[in-house]
């Protein structure tokens, strides 16, 4: 396969994974009573080429979060998406795609790994915990 063909394949797989994550998170956020809005922006990537990606804004009361793709090629993972508190862009958590699934890396919580980060499967319960904590933190 040519280099361009390979880049196109990586990009297509990345966009498919992103779509799956965005749709799940959007549904979970709405189920928890958060307002959501999807936007799009250009992700600069010199390895697979600049491309448009979705990002998800979520808001409940005064708490505003953004789920934002970081890149398709990251060490040890085939994709990374960050969750930020807006508008300050403070880091909340990260999603990594590895071993065929998305995983949630959440710093500063129970059962952390050696980096002080709790690694959770991406489930509605896990994501709801993040949302609940963000609201509690803001209160």
């Amino acid at each position: 396969m040519s280099e361009n063909g390979s880049a196109e394949k990586i990009k297509a797989e990345w966009l498919t994974r992103l779509r799956e994550l965005m749709d799940k998170v959007r549904q979970w956020a709405e189920d928890s009573g958060w307002a959501t809005r999807e936007i799009e922006f250009t992700l600069k990537d010199r390895r697979i080429g600049d491309h448009r990606v979705p990002a998800l804004l979520m808001q409940e009361s005064a708490v505003k979060l953004m789920l934002e793709p970081v890149g398709a090629l990251t060490p040890g993972a085939s994709g990374m998406v960050d969750l930020y508190q807006m508008p300050a862009y403070d880091d909340v958590a990260s999603f990594y795609y590895s071993d065929g699934q998305w995983k949630l890396h959440w710093p500063g919580h129970s059962a952390p790994n050696e980096d002080g980060v709790e690694v959770l499967p991406v489930t509605k319960d896990a994501f709801s915990r993040v949302l609940t904590e963000m609201l509690a933190h803001a209160a």
């Binding site: 936007i39 922006f41 970081v70 930020y84 807006m86 508008p87 300050a88 862009y89 403070d90 880091d91």
Partner: protein, 150 residues
Amino acid sequence: MPRDRDSCIRQVKIIEREFAAARTAIEFFLRNIRRDPTLLKNPVEVKDVDDAEDRLERTYLIRLFAEFEMIVRGYFRATYRRRPPARTRDLLDSVGARRGVTAELVGDAHRVREYRNQLIHEPDADMQAISIAESRSRLCKFLSYLPIRW
């Protein structure tokens, strides 16, 4: 060229991410050259890499503030069709007043500006450091008061 606020704010965050990448790389490199200094090519010495590591955050903080200032100046020029105030302090006060930025957030941005000034003009003076993460947080909050597009 029209600008949009979210892209501008994202650009500030990207600089913080680049700092994290550079710090990771330099720490990795330092571990290796301390073990094997022959990895270094003249004229770079281990001490030079140590110094680079020590000054990395302040270097990126100066760049972070420069990006922020460029965004605010560009906004002023495009929106008010005249030259922005020459002094950055006046620029932030002017845009802050016109966009209804809270006094607290304008003050926060000024403290980052003052810290940046100290780093440039009096790098050895005692000063209350502001981390790059805290600086990014303060400056992004200020930028969030700009219109969606200009």
